[in-house]
């Protein structure tokens, strides 16, 4: 059933695209059908899964690699699945109106549904590798969604940043998964979680494994210091921002941490990392949001802050923390989703999201004002909303910690209360400033396109669900909260949630936070002015862009310097590298140098020494001589000496071939070079000439060493003997020929192919040259090529 639902969503993606939904008035309702089906089915499972039932499905993917598509539905997967599918359905309806009659609607749906498929696969997967594949699926679809407006340079940059940060994190995570699989002996998550936690925490590779996995989870959930990609991702169309960047994708990291919580929660490394990172993110996100004036930017930083809260809660290994986590995730999805959608509707209706230009929208859009009240009060955590319930539980966690005698508990309590106060302030800003105040401080934007009631309906539905849940705790408590909390904790959880506990210390703290929030809201003008003065330089985006640009600079510089523009540079780099490697090999292994002795016994004959000397002299003449013809002749001298050396050292085939080739080369050189006039090459400066000489001497030394080593070692002895002994089997007498045509026939075939290609290439080049440039009579004729013979500069 799970795979059918995934397939349903995956198939909906191209289908909706092909149906051209922009042609229909209410396309959103059709598009919402597939996620609604998924939501409905998941709701029917709430009861059984709440009782502890687990649905498993197993599909073999690649047996040899141990890859399987294992799907598993337990409390936590069901919980996340409901958020993904339920909010997805609302977004699908909303997008239908947001993109009304725009041709991009089909494309948007295709991406949205592919994303939904990946996200559901991610939370349902029971195999680490399958989870990674779905994880990357969400990264890529979100990349495409952020860069949806292809003409917007900022959107492209934001998308690239998000992809690089989350992609690098995911690669680190894959490494962590492999280590985890090696330690636990399986890639199946449920099998790993069934092992005793000590299996992991006592393993030598525990710390690297945990850090790699945390990198993946923390980048995805935009935790400090990787938080900067999330606000940049706000360039996505608002429905995508609402869905990906508040309700679902950014919670993938939280999901993964929650999933692995039972195995790692006892480790101090886990505790301190999550506590510190989450705590910093919580406070930092809330403070930076004070500086923003864009509705979406405020919401984005508030999301960063809330994600910090969730990560911080995951550090604890207690029942209250698990419950606070589950409540926090759902409450956040149910208030942040609608708030984003409201920001989108405001943008749609007035053409701006800048809070300085908005005021008095409640009159024009009363339904929207109702929505913002429901969602905003929940975000503020004011009783009796869902957000209040979540915040109470959060404070309770720290209160218990403080009561246990740890002074850090008090710090945590104060930090959480402070963040809570800031949340109150934002929520009031979001409710009051655009909707209820009389006039905007700057030029006020007018409502041009008031939204239809159907457009606002998804907002009201989501906010309404969030409002209703605290009043029906008795019905949903077991399936919706207790089951996922037990999965996070790895032990059964019993719940007694209620809106009213009496005048507990926690409630008093909460009241204090609200009062502080009201104070910040009251003083918002001076506070914002102070924050606007804060230095802007030190933000993650700048550092990240600097790193990326630095990488490009280094790559550019290294390519330029290694793969220089001129052929001589490239040749010298290659030759010097070869020399360097030989020196390294010789120096690093002592035996190589020790063998560099000369066998004085094997004396050469007089003729051989003369021939070698002849070749040496001819080679030196080739370099020194100015005349082109003489140089070609001296090159031929070298060839002739080499040929004679082959004769003296019993290589008749080589001598014959060398002789033929030498004649051919000579003819070719003479034929072609004397059609080419000497070039006006500038003389090479002394300094560069000296450098060339130095390189040549180095290479000469390299050749000397290589030749001595080659003479000492029996390089081919073992395989040569095989060829010599089996020569009769090939019915040949000439061993060299037999090697070429029988034993190493493929080499010879390759050689023939090279010759054919060279011949074809040469033929094509010469044929083409028959087409000569036509002389334009108005231009002076260039100097005739063959008129100058006495070439000095060849």
């Amino acid at each position: 059933m799970l795979i059918t639902l995934l397939a349903l969503l995956a198939v909906s993606a191209p289908t909706l695209w092909l149906l051209k939904p922009q042609r229909w008035r209410h396309a959103g309702w059709l598009a919402a059908l597939p996620p609604l089906v998924v939501t409905a089915w998941l709701l029917t499972q709430l009861g059984p899964v709440g009782q502890g039932a687990v649905i498993r499905e197993h599909y073999v993917w690649s047996e040899a690699f141990g890859l399987a598509l294992d799907l598993r539905l337990d409390g936590l997967s069901l919980f996340f699945g409901l958020i993904v599918a339920g909010i997805g359905a609302a977004i699908a309806v909303y997008a239908g109106y947001y993109f009304e009659k725009k041709t991009t609607l089909g494309y948007f749906y295709a991406l949205l549904f592919l994303f939904m498929t990946s996200m559901l696969g991610l939370v349902w997967a029971d195999n680490l590798l399958a989870l990674f594949v779905f994880w990357e699926g969400t990264s890529i679809t979100s990349y495409l969604l952020i860069s949806f407006k292809l003409s917007d340079q900022k959107a492209l940059e934001g998308a690239r940043r998000a992809l690089i940060v989350t992609g690098m994190g995911a690669l680190a995570m894959l490494g962590g998964f492999v280590l985890l699989g090696q330690i636990g002996g399986s890639y199946t998550i449920s099998a790993l979680l069934a092992l005793p936690p000590a299996t992991f925490t006592s393993h030598a590779l525990f710390a690297p494994m945990l850090i790699l996995i945390l990198l993946g989870a923390l980048t995805k959930s935009a935790q400090f210091p990787f938080h900067f990609w999330l606000p940049g991702a706000m360039s996505a169309p608002t429905p995508a921002s609402a869905y990906l960047h508040s309700a679902t994708m950014v919670k993938a990291g939280v999901y993964l941490l929650a999933r692995l919580h039972p195995a790692f929660a006892e480790s101090p490394l886990w505790f301190w990392t999550l506590l510190v990172v989450g705590g910093i993110t919580m406070l930092m996100g809330a403070l930076i949001a004070l500086r923003q004036v864009d509705l979406k930017a405020i919401l984005a930083y508030a999301t960063v802050s809330q994600l910090g809260v969730l990560v911080m809660l995951l550090a604890f290994n207690s029942q209250t923390a698990a419950v606070a986590l589950v409540l926090g995730i759902l409450a956040h999805a149910l208030y942040k989703g609608p708030l984003f959608l409201i920001a989108g509707i405001i943008d749609h209706a007035t053409g701006t999201r800048d809070i300085r230009h908005l005021a008095g929208l409640a009159k024009a859009m009363p339904l929207l004002a109702a929505g913002v009240l429901l969602a905003g009060l929940s975000m503020a955590g004011i009783a009796p909303t869902f957000g209040f319930l979540a915040k109470e539980t959060l404070l309770e966690v720290f209160f218990y910690w403080m009561e246990s005698g740890d002074p850090l508990g008090l710090v945590g309590l104060i930090a959480s209360a402070l963040a809570g106060a800031l949340f109150v302030a934002y929520s009031l800003v979001l409710i009051w400033e655009p909707f209820f105040r009389r006039a905007a401080p700057q030029k006020q934007a007018a409502v041009q396109h008031p939204p239809s009631a159907l457009f606002v309906l998804p907002v009201l539905l989501l906010a309404g669900v969030g409002t209703a849940i605290p009043f029906m705790l008795g019905i949903v408590e077991q399936g919706l909260f207790a089951a996922p909390a037990s999965a996070v904790l790895g032990a059964p959880v019993t719940l007694h949630l209620s809106l009213w506990h009496g005048w507990t210390p926690v409630f008093l703290t909460s009241l204090l936070a609200i009062a502080l929030g009201l104070l910040v809201f009251w003083l918002r003008q001076p506070v914002r002015a102070a924050f606007a003065q804060a230095p802007k330089k030190l933000n993650g985006t700048g550092i990240f862009d600097g790193l990326v640009n630095g990488l490009y600079t280094v790559a550019d510089w290294s390519t330029r310097s290694v793969q220089g523009a001129t052929l001589p540079t490239q040749v010298s780099v290659i030759l010097l590298a070869a020399t360097g490697f030989l020196l390294y090999a010789g120096l690093s292994s002592g035996t190589l140098l020790a063998e560099l002795g000369i066998n004085w016994a094997a004396r050469p004959t007089f003729y051989e020494v003369v021939l070698a000397a002849l070749a040496v002299v001819a080679a030196l003449i080739t370099v020194r001589i100015q005349s082109r013809l003489s140089a070609i002749i001296s090159l031929g001298m070298v060839g002739a000496s080499v040929m004679l050396i082959y004769v003296f050292f019993s290589a008749p085939d080589l001598a014959l071939t060398q002789f033929l080739i030498e004649v051919l080369t000579l003819v070719l050189l003479v034929l072609v070079f004397f059609r080419i006039p000497p070039q006006e090459v500038q003389p090479i400066p002394k300094r560069i000439s000296l450098r060339h000489l130095l390189i040549s001497l180095l290479v000469a030394g390299w050749g000397f060493g290589m030749a001595l080593l080659a003479a000492q070692r029996p390089f081919f002895a073992t395989i040569s003997d095989y060829f010599s002994l089996n020569v009769l089997a090939a019915h040949g007498g000439n061993i060299v020929n037999v090697i070429l045509v029988d034993f190493r026939a493929m080499d010879t075939l390759g050689e023939i192919s090279v010759m054919v290609v060279a011949a074809l290439g040469g033929y094509a080049l010469l044929r083409a040259s028959r087409l000569r440039p036509v002389q334009d009579p108005s231009q002076p004729t260039p100097p005739k090529a063959r008129s100058r013979r006495g070439d000095k500069n060849a």
Partner: protein, 155 residues
């Protein structure tokens, strides 16, 4: 001591070849390539010269008793044989390439040894040069067509 002779030979050939390859003139590069070929062939050949013997050819196949110690090592020779032929193919192609470049650029004045720089800030100039190449080609084709038509009309 043979090894020493070969080592000196290889060293000198490699040094001179490198020096020629580093020059700007393409013709010198071709010469350098030729010397480098010899150098590398001699390097491979040097592995088999210390055990002198007869050429690796069985004059009487029936009498071969499996005594291979009388022959020199045949494998380096087989490798060099392939190398000689391939290096000739490459040399011939490069010579044809030089010839082609000369016909395209008669003056030889702006003939530099710069290869295409993929990171050049303004690759426009090179592109223009290529376009000019094709402009005259088009002219030639047009001219030929006109000649042909004139010939046909004369008939």
């Amino acid at each position: 001591m043979i090894a020493l002779v070969f080592a000196v030979l290889v060293a000198v050939l490699m040094g001179t070849a490198t020096y020629l390859l580093l020059q700007r003139s393409p013709i010198r590069m071709v010469l350098g390539l030729g010397l480098f070929t010899h150098a590398v062939n001699m390097l491979i050949f040097g592995t088999s010269v210390s055990d002198r013997g007869q050429p690796p050819v069985l004059l009487d196949k029936a009498a071969f008793d499996g005594d291979i110690s009388q022959f020199v090592d045949p494998l380096p020779q087989a490798l060099i044989l392939t190398a000689i032929v391939i290096s000739f193919g490459i040399a011939a192609f490069i010579i044809a390439l030089l010839h082609r470049r000369h016909t395209l650029d008669m003056s030889g004045e702006n003939c530099t040894d710069r290869v295409d720089d993929p990171f050049a800030l303004e690759p426009r100039a090179e592109l223009d040069a290529v376009e000019e190449d094709y402009e005259w080609l088009e002219d030639v084709v047009l001219l030929r067509r006109q000649e042909q038509q004139a010939r046909e009309s004369r008939k």
